[in-house]
Symmetry: C2
Subunit: 452 residues, 2 copies
């Protein structure tokens, strides 16, 4: 009973790509992170390929410390374009691809955020998405009047209330509220405008939102957070989950866990799509793919590589890079250090090999192989109920995306696993998701909260 | 000694235009306030006309109350697009016009704002501007966790510190900080990145900003606020002041007052441009112009008109519209009510005539006349040191702007008062303003703070 299901595919980007050495690759415009033309190029490649979404990760500041000394100025994630501003400009020059920006519930106000994403949904004619995150670094707290970040549980409590307020604001206007009747002078029907009057622990927001109901009802909500709290927010509010899963077994568990939470919120399994990240390194042959990976790994500057394991091992810049990994001494270092040390011993990794292993994929599943290898993994995960599709994470831009589009997509299409053209004009429509009903209409007319 | 000086001209827009009856005019797309195509049309008209800037006013919520009852649903200022999002999309489809968004220092965080306007400056290749306002309504406070707005002096104190932080963040990176050296692996020169470490009364912001120095050095800063505090912020930080002046004498006083404050901040008079708002109602003849004005005034819905004087006169909806204006009774009503009542008596205004007089111009100078009449006023104000140009405020869009461009601009060009083409590629360049030097470069190299 292998029901043929098409994959949903996004591309997750940030600056010049995710791989720590990627910016040094000859095909990467090293000044691209501040250059609109670079992102426009990537967006056009993704849209020509009929991908569902362009997904922009984000952080509110420069997160890394300069440890070991001299490492920070060798990393490319320090100056970039703000995602909402960037997506709005891209909205003007694209027509079908979904546009998702990451925005933190910890450092934003729901009124501003609902207004900006609502505007983006109008400007893009129904292609906006919000990746709801809670942020995780002190470096971001420092830019917003705090000496350290808010406690984990407080962040998630605030996030839940934030999502309540934002979705409430997006229901301020009913879809047919505006009459625009020049003859009678009536601009809108007052019965179809609703004031939120929210007063909670973290927010007091009266509303209504000064943005009309959006083309998608509300922007698509993406959630990226793996904890219990993250899963609960996803089950209640998200249309899409972006997860980081390294292997099939844990991805299946995660999939079942999140989908299993939907009925408690009156939702069906098909109303939430789970898209794990996937880093493809593709070549015509496996040897070619491996060579591409090796080339990237060699481009990791040793100081940047060491910065990637600093949090677990401390400063190893005094040790020979091709020598053995010293046992972590500092008791303050996290328990993950012990796991990594055991891995290094088992595999006989040098320091260089250890940081290379850590840098590759950054927590996401990496598949190095032929188009068939990568398509096999994708098909397998979908069939085994571990994924509804993937958020493709190119190592370096635009090259990693071009490789995926040129090599892997034809293979997926040959198998009937990916679309030839967009089915709909809105992001939600292409994802095959129902449009949320306005809560006030539902309260008046009854029926299910979603309209298909 | 009439030195020929060219005017700087912006166009200030919001939704469908400023006139309370404008949306009912046959030439106005009544659904335009949520429609990107409407704003793109306006931006293209303004750019084809070589105007300096498209200026977007803003408010953080629906400011009016429904008083008298039934008035709010007849007003068009209730649902619109958020200005930064909108300008970013417009940036992608324009190439020379300056793009200014209003953003409040009272309800924003400087890190977010510096990042968004910095990104807009990059995306637009040097055409971003920020209209710094402090906001003024309780309705906005209600959307941000407050029961009433912050006290006036606190708002301005916060605004001054906000501008310090934002300009400090925009100096985080020196212009030549990025090496992008693939061979050596050095992405930026660490000596050219500066951490702000601001700790003040209203804000603690470490920085640095994760946006590279922008094409204009920093976005153009516009200030709109007439009080002593507003003038001080303008003198210290602004490149442009947008003022509301009804007559030449007070405009001259204001001009002298603001320009006179510049030397205390080491700035010359030419480094700040003062652009009063001007509402042109233009016709081939004076009679035609007057007829256009009358047509608009007649389009004001009586309830909307009464809402415009509610704050001073209370609810007059029970009185005959064409009868006399009753004397304001409520002692709580502001002293401005007494002034308006005296005006109504002197001119023999009916209630309808009073609200029409108040609605027209909304505090700005309105000129009803031929192209020559309007050009005369403009030339006179510039010659008499009351203005460096104007922010044109169309009554209704796009019609009011089209009229100005078609009728008044040729007259200004005939007199040598307005450009035939843009002189520069950046907004700052077209305004003839110097580019601010990075404070860290200035500290190291000495010399004046501005580079021409
Ligand atoms: C796949 C994935 C992508 C994420 N992307 C971002 C991001 O772009 N920016 C961000 O601030 N946090 C991001 N996060 C972090 C989450 O918002 C969250 O703060 C973090 O995962 C801790 O929460 P958790 O324990 O629920 O996972 C991401 C998390 C995951 C799992
Ligand atoms: C010409 C002009 C335009 C303004 N535009 C806006 C605006 O778009 N949004 C806003 O919130 N405030 C706007 N303001 C209000 C100012 O920010 C300020 O709050 C108000 O004028 C009170 O300050 P003041 O006493 O210094 O004038 C404007 C003020 C002036 C004079």
């Amino acid at each position: 009973m292998t029901e043929q299901r098409q994959l949903k595919l996004g591309v997750s980007i940030r600056a010049l790509g995710y791989h720590a050495g990627g910016w040094r690759h000859p095909g990467v415009p090293a000044d691209g992170a501040m250059d609109f033309a670079h992102f426009l190029n990537v967006a056009r490649i993704a849209e020509a390929a009929k991908l569902d979404m362009l997904f922009l990760a984000d952080g509110l500041g420069i997160r890394q410390k300069d440890q070991p000394a001299g490492s920070l100025c060798r990393s490319n994630q320090n100056a970039e374009l703000e995602p909402i501003t960037l997506l709005s400009a891209l909205a003007a020059l694209t027509s079908r691809i979904g546009l998702v920006a990451t925005a933190s519930t910890t450092y934003n106000e729901p009124y501003h955020l609902a207004r900006k994403f609502g505007s983006l949904d109008h400007i893009s004619k129904g292609r906006a998405g919000w990746n709801l995150v809670t942020s995780w670094s002190d470096a971001e707290a420092f830019n917003f009047g705090r000496d350290h970040q808010m406690a984990y549980d407080d962040r998630y409590e605030r996030a839940m209330e934030f999502a309540e307020v934002a979705t409430g604001l997006w229901d301020s206007w009913e879809a047919d509220a505006f009459r625009h009747d020049k003859a009678s002078g009536v601009f809108y029907d007052p019965d179809k405008l609703h004031t939120l009057d929210h007063r909670g622990k973290h927010f007091a927001v009266r509303g209504p939102l000064s943005v009309a109901r959006t083309p998608q009802g509300r922007p698509v909500i993406v959630q990226a957070g793996a904890s219990e709290q993250g899963r609960d927010i996803a089950a209640r509010f998200a249309d899409v989950v972006f997860s980081a899963e390294q292997n099939l077994a844990s991805a299946r568990d995660y999939y079942a866990s999140v989908k299993g939470r939907l009925p408690a919120h009156g939702r069906r399994a098909g109303e939430l799509l789970i898209l794990p990240g996937l880093v493809p390194i593709v070549g015509a042959t496996r040897a070619e793919a491996q060579a591409k990976h090796d080339e990237l790994q060699e481009l990791i500057d040793p100081l940047v590589g060491l910065a990637g394991i600093y949090g677990n091992f401390g400063d190893l810049s005094g040790y020979p890079l091709d020598g053995p990994v010293p046992e972590p001494q500092d008791p303050k270092l996290r328990s993950r250090a012990a796991v990594m040390f055991r891995l290094a011993q088992e595999k006989g990794y040098s320091i260089r090999q250890l940081y290379q292993a850590v840098a590759s994929g950054r927590g996401h599943r990496t598949v190095i192989g032929t188009p068939a290898d990568i398509a096999d993994t994708m098909a397998d995960w979908v069939e085994q109920k571990a994924a509804d599709g993937f958020n493709i994470i190119p190592t370096h831009l635009p090259v990693g995306l071009e490789d995926f589009v040129r090599l892997v997509l034809p293979e997926l299409r040959r198998r009937g696993l990916f679309r030839d053209d967009y089915e709909a004009t809105t992001f939600r429509g292409n994802l095959g998701l129902p449009e949320p009903r306005n809560r006030h209409v539902a309260a008046r007319e009854g029926g299910v909260p979603l309209s298909a």
